[in-house]
Symmetry: C2
């Protein structure tokens, strides 16, 4: 490795390659789409393919095929919830969006793509294990709104058993949650992504027919910095960004009733403007929500701020559907 | 896949295998150590090796070799900081431990193993890119205490550029931060692990000569559940657990001065007893810390609770060193 580094300075933009050029012995052709070495044609293994992808990005995109729906599923919209940084309440925002859509009469499901840190089943109070039958895995329904949920924790003997798996295995499980789970007829499937920009988010963006992504952030500069990584990733992978939710924006003191910005002043509007993504909601850090999540009763929590997001997302997706239909018509004619 | 599922019920303990049996086409022999299919000998690819590992765990352990130190490094102790769940302040605890040890006169370094969500450089206010010379990568020193730091963000042209890499590439970068970085002479190297139990934590536990792990949690039941996954993982991989830090335990209202348990009542003591890991410290959610992290001045923050952890960890590690020395002597005689 040192021979490689020898001739160059790490502060140069190309430095990332020094790190990635070590990968080929363990990476697969699928990795090329996310590999800088492949992108700029310096990867010794995928050189030709990478060159081709670099000069013909349209061809590169088509090389990653979206996974088809199972014959038992009719899922009209898939929306992922992403944060980049962990602990900003991404899973609770996913669950709150799902419940808000369900209350509006939409058929929704929740796919927990956070394989190594799943929290969706606990929030919905689901203790039952997932069953399977000859045609696939059956999601478990939440108690109150009957929202079908699939998570690795519904397949483990104990919810605190770790899944000590490397990326390729995690990526396969995420794919299986799309291809082998009998979701049935859904208006919206919400996908809870793990923090970071690794295997699970990459697999979801590459392999699932995403309509868009909701980004969750918190007021910390740090969270904003990491969230920007997630936004850049979504754009690199041509995934539509539906909007931004700032969570844990403030705390209301139960003793004096004053508003307290525990993670610093709100940055939602600034991030929205800087990244050109609409700010969908600003949510407080509410101990009541933590309590309901811990008790598995998140469906009892119904903040107006989230309810108002439903209408916005539905309108955007309807608009996108119309554009797709027009585009299709023009191609047919 | 459905053929596999059709014969079994997902609620059976063996269900995990249904998911992992899809992996062989993409997993490497190295994965066996973390794969249930390999562990119980059902993996079609690694059957023999897995059988062998199952009946002779000592042999299995020796099959994963720790990476040697570079000729330029003399690192006496390696301590990883892990949380399982994101956003519990793991990175700030890593940085606070490093600064506390540095203040006590120890030579410390920080290896940021959170490749897809690195926050260590920002906390230390490091804006400079890492340089390299013919023998490897040079860490960048923090301003106040001159703590050497290596992070993927010191190798990227912009700190908010995402690294959209799959697990094997991420694992290689983490290894390179150990083998190719010129750390020099250190008493303690602190490793900041990403959330979850995936590639980076697995690689660190398998390939780095860890003396132990500090677990960081928050009072949420959810965090506790995911933290238990991390603890089980560490035990499966025979990594010593030094202790537990409960972070974000409470907030002091700046208006009325009352203590407010925003994430619910403290569970540190209960988790410590349930998992048999000493509770090292209980830290508040302090807006002052968020502010200093955002300003890159975490070295100016010096809570007594963390300072007191230094003495405890040093004593434990000295004791472990003596045990190792005795063990070595008895083998020599």
């Amino acid at each position: 490795m040192s021979e490689k580094i020898e001739t160059r300075n790490a502060s140069q933009a190309g430095e990332g390659r020094d790190l990635e050029e070590r990968a080929p012995e363990s990476c697969t052709p699928e990795d090329c789409s996310s590999c800088q070495a492949a992108a700029d044609g310096t990867c010794p293994l995928q050189h030709e393919k990478a060159q081709d992808e670099r000069v013909r990005p349209d061809k590169a995109k088509s090389a990653i095929e979206k996974l088809p729906q199972s014959q038992f599923n009719d899922i009209r919209h898939v929306v992922a919830v992403m944060s980049g940084k962990g602990g900003v309440g991404k899973s609770s925002v996913t669950a709150l969006l799902a419940t808000a859509f369900a209350r509006e009469g939409y058929k929704v499901g929740v796919l927990d793509a956070d394989i190594t840190g799943p929290s969706i089943p606990r929030m919905f109070g689901i203790k039952k294990r997932a069953d399977s039958f000859e045609f696939g895995l059956l999601p478990v329904q939440s108690e109150t709104l009957r929202i079908p949920v699939m998570s690795i924790n519904l397949l483990l003997p104990h919810e605190d058993d770790p899944v000590i798996w490397r990326g390729p295995i995690i990526a396969n499980v995420v794919k299986q949650f799309w291809t082998d789970v009998v979701w049935g007829d859904l208006d919206f499937l919400f996908v809870d992504l793990p923090p970071g920009t690794g295997d699970a988010p990459l697999t979801v963006m590459q392999s699932l027919p995403l309509d868009g992504i909701v980004i969750v952030s918190s007021p910390q500069d740090l969270a904003v910095m990491v969230v920007k990584k997630a936004i850049k990733m979504a754009r690199i992978l041509n995934t539509h960004l539906l909007g931004l939710v700032e969570n844990m924006s403030y705390v209301i003191c139960p003793h004096c009733g004053n508003k307290h910005e525990v993670f610093g002043p709100s940055k939602g509007q600034a991030v929205s403007e800087a990244t050109d993504i609409p700010l969908l909601a600003t949510l407080p850090l509410d101990p009541k929500l933590s309590e309901l999540c811990d008790k598995g009763r998140i469906e009892d929590y119904n903040p107006d701020a989230v309810a108002s997001v439903v209408d916005f997302i539905v309108k955007i997706l309807d608009h996108m559907d119309k554009l797709k239909a027009k585009d299709h018509e023009s191609k047919v004619q």
